[in-house]
């Protein structure tokens, strides 16, 4: 008798489950590929949210990418890192320190204003009172600017400086509309106005930034109507979203997903060498690392070959690195050879340097999977030569503070190359005056290298600059303040029907030429 009563209740359960469980799922079938109308919106999954949309607020890779699509600089790098004219049709160097730029006529800002040299002046002048951006114009004379007429702009550098054109291409110097900035004030960071192929639409913090085609762009118009930059920090979710058709392009794809995206018919993978190098840096200002032999010994004690195989899945994710200058830049010293893996030699050198039974070193790093694995491998390898590597992970805020203050013994980093200029890069890595800045992790102070760097910085002649670059790299190789790990490839996953995407080494990708192919 009792049984019958209970069946009623279980029936109730089934109904409730049906209602509650999968009530709302629509009829949407699997991922794209059917004959939907060709989409005119591109959804890009990016890994980090830019701090702001004012070009002076940040230069995180994702921000640089968006800036490149809503602003223009006077000059810019093409995909071979060669400098090409953009808003400035041409420029001439009047003397050692003065440069004259001829601006393009009839260029419209998104708010309808026409680009004038006053806007360019304003875009340069405002950098001096922004602490984060001041460094970018430290070599430019603040009162050396002139605007002879609406379409010419003259600037002077504080001293002869061969890397000035490269500095003009920096994302900090994207040209903004003076009228828009003065009117918006603080809010400009949230609704930018530039001259780029796309104009800003909306930004929901933590979720997405939407831009749409700027109809009267001075160059040929963008092919797509809108781009939605979605912020998906979790790498695994980003890739799954791509494969399930939720997004069209997934930036910063992990090494482990490369093969699968290539094999999967619905997706493609583009790999390119971006302007970054992953390295380990000894803090030369610390007593134990002051001696070159100790640094060389640890280079011998590190089997970079096998570390690269493990971290980058046998070379799929990166290229071997023998010097700090990245492959696509001119002046890269190609005849340097990597320290081979020779623990005996390392022990001998350590003994010679006065550490026969080794020493203990603290390793500060941002705790993510790659740094952790790298640290654990170094720990095991260095232990064989008696050096104990103590893992000391820090989260981002404390890490930045420690490294900038030079309190670390050893750290790893993945720095992008300053300004895409060989000499500037070497200068920011190794020059003793740069201690405390974010790229100088080795705290090297070698007068000979400093002298060569200063000379190269002002050297106008191209071949002479390359010759100096060779010499500097050779000396640095001898000093061995770093352990070169790899030039990492930057991997971008796309849906098969996304065409025309050409990645830029300094991640200033141009989305105006991207389109969706008909099926």
């Amino acid at each position: 008798m009792k049984r019958k009563k209970m069946s009623l209740v279980s029936l109730l359960l089934v109904i409730a489950l049906l209602l509650g469980g999968c009530g709302g799922t629509g009829g949407e079938t699997g991922s794209g590929g059917e004959s939907e109308p060709v989409r005119d919106t591109l959804i890009v999954g990016m890994d980090r949210e830019p701090a702001g949309l004012d070009p002076t607020s940040t230069h995180v890779t994702t921000a640089v990418m968006i800036f490149n699509n809503i602003y223009d600089t006077l000059l810019s790098f093409d995909n071979e890192m060669k400098i090409q004219p953009r808003l400035a049709i041409s420029y001439e160097q009047l003397d050692d320190v003065t440069y004259k730029f001829h601006l393009r006529k009839g260029v419209k800002f998104h708010n309808g204003e026409e680009l004038k040299s006053s806007d360019v002046l304003f875009s340069f002048k405002r950098l001096y009172d922004i602490p984060a951006a001041k460094g970018q114009v430290s070599m430019i004379d603040p009162n050396g600017f002139e605007c002879p007429d609406d379409y010419t702009f003259v600037l002077k550098t504080t001293e002869p400086w061969s890397a000035l054109p490269a500095q003009i291409c920096s994302s900090y110097l994207n040209i903004v509309s003076e009228k828009a900035v003065t009117e918006a004030g603080e809010d400009f960071n949230r609704n930018p106005v530039g001259t780029g192929p796309f104009q800003f639409v909306s930004w929901t913090a933590g979720d997405s930034i939407v831009v749409e085609r700027f109809e009267d762009y001075w160059d040929e118009k963008a092919l797509l109507k809108t781009i939605n930059f979605r912020i998906i920090t979790e790498a695994t979710s980003r890739v799954i979203d791509l494969e399930s058709g939720g997004i069209d392009i997934a930036l910063a794809v992990g090494v482990t997903d490369i093969e699968r995206l290539r094999e999967n018919a619905a997706t493609d993978l583009i790999q390119f060498n971006h302007t970054g190098i992953r390295y380990g840096a000894f803090n030369c200002s610390k007593e134990v690392f002051a001696d070159k032999r100790v640094r060389q010994a640890l280079n011998y004690a590190t089997n970079v070959e096998i570390i690269r195989d493990v971290l980058y899945d046998k070379g799929i994710g990166a290229m071997p690195a023998t010097t700090s200058v990245i492959p696509i830049l001119s002046g890269r010293n190609t005849d340097l050879v990597q320290y081979d893996y020779d623990p005996e030699k390392a022990k001998a050198l350590l003994a010679e340097a006065g550490y026969p039974d080794g020493f203990s070193v603290e390793y500060n790093f941002l705790s993510n999977t790659k740094n952790t694995r790298l640290g654990e491998m170094l720990q095991a390898q260095w232990a064989e030569v008696g050096v104990e590597l103590v893992m000391a992970p820090l989260e981002s805020a404390t890490l930045t503070a420690t490294l900038n203050a030079g309190e670390h013994d050893f750290c790893t980093a993945n720095s992008t190359y300053a300004l895409g200029d060989t000499i500037e890069g070497l200068y920011s890595f190794y020059h003793s005056s740069m201690h405390g800045t974010s790229r100088c992790r080795a705290y090297l102070s070698n007068p000979e290298i400093d002298a060569l760097l200063d000379e190269a910085r002002v050297e106008k002649n191209e071949d002479k600059r390359e010759q100096l670059a060779y010499e500097i790299q050779a000396l640095v190789h001898e000093e061995a303040p770093w352990i070169y790990i790899a030039y990492e490839y930057y991997n971008v996953g796309l849906l098969a029907d996304v065409q025309g995407f050409k990645p830029a080494p300094n991640s200033a990708h141009d989305f105006s030429c991207v389109y969706i192919a008909e099926k």
Partner: protein, 308 residues
Amino acid sequence: MIKYILRRILMMIPVMLGVTIIVFTMMYITPGDPAEIILEDGATPEAVAELREEMGLDDPYLVRYFRFVSDLLHGDLGTCYAIGQPVFDRLVQTFPNTMKLAALAVLVSTTLGLLMGIISAAKQYSVFDNVAMALAMMGNAMPNFWQGLLLMLLFSLWLGWLPASGFSSFKHMILPAVTMGTSSAAIIARMTRSSMLEVIRADYISTARAKGQVEYRVILRHALKNALIPVVTIIGIQFGRQLGGAVLTESIFAIPGVGKMMVDAIKARNFPVVQGGVLMIALSLSIVNLLVDILYAYIDPRIKSQYK
């Protein structure tokens, strides 16, 4: 009843004040300098010192605390260090998402919990009872970030029913809500089961049956309403858990919620955002607890008379 609600609201004020003190002190003693993070690569020592001065980070503890509280009283939660947007706007954008998610998660956990609790109480010691309880506890034991990933693999990738991440439509909320909901379904199920078992044995249930009332109405109208009383308090507490659970789930499913914002803010030493976020969460929890107590009185007339 109104008097009781007013008293409870007044009591919230010291708690809120306490929250500001704790959060502010916690942030104050945390190493790492926001100025350096904002400057990123441009962080030369002078630039950092200049920015710190500008942001007033060098002032003594008390000065900064009272500035924070006085701003708070004027409704200004300060500006977010990273984006320069008023914290209030950031919260307005992110808070509703987390609340919607947490509410849906509570709905999921309550329906699951109640159903399993009632059924396993009605069919005590049967196979269903043990299986339901074991399943519920399994949901609770699984780390929700791992569960989220697996659900995403199953439902977004292989089955293609639900979008993997983002937060634009209702369908986006199903997976995260289920991930968060299952963890507290167990507690609600267990609580419902034990209180149902207690209530089913009460005399008034036999009275109801003696009246000739049909079984399922005896269970739903008489037993459940009484059994709900202790369960309602558990549901109130679960809401707090869901806000906590949201933190990881939001980063997995890329949901612009307060949880994810808070984790990034703490890591980037974005003090105003952390302080604003924690205050908002604490406020919403206190309000939810108050609502639960009112619901409590509505369900149990004996308590309503106390409040008069």
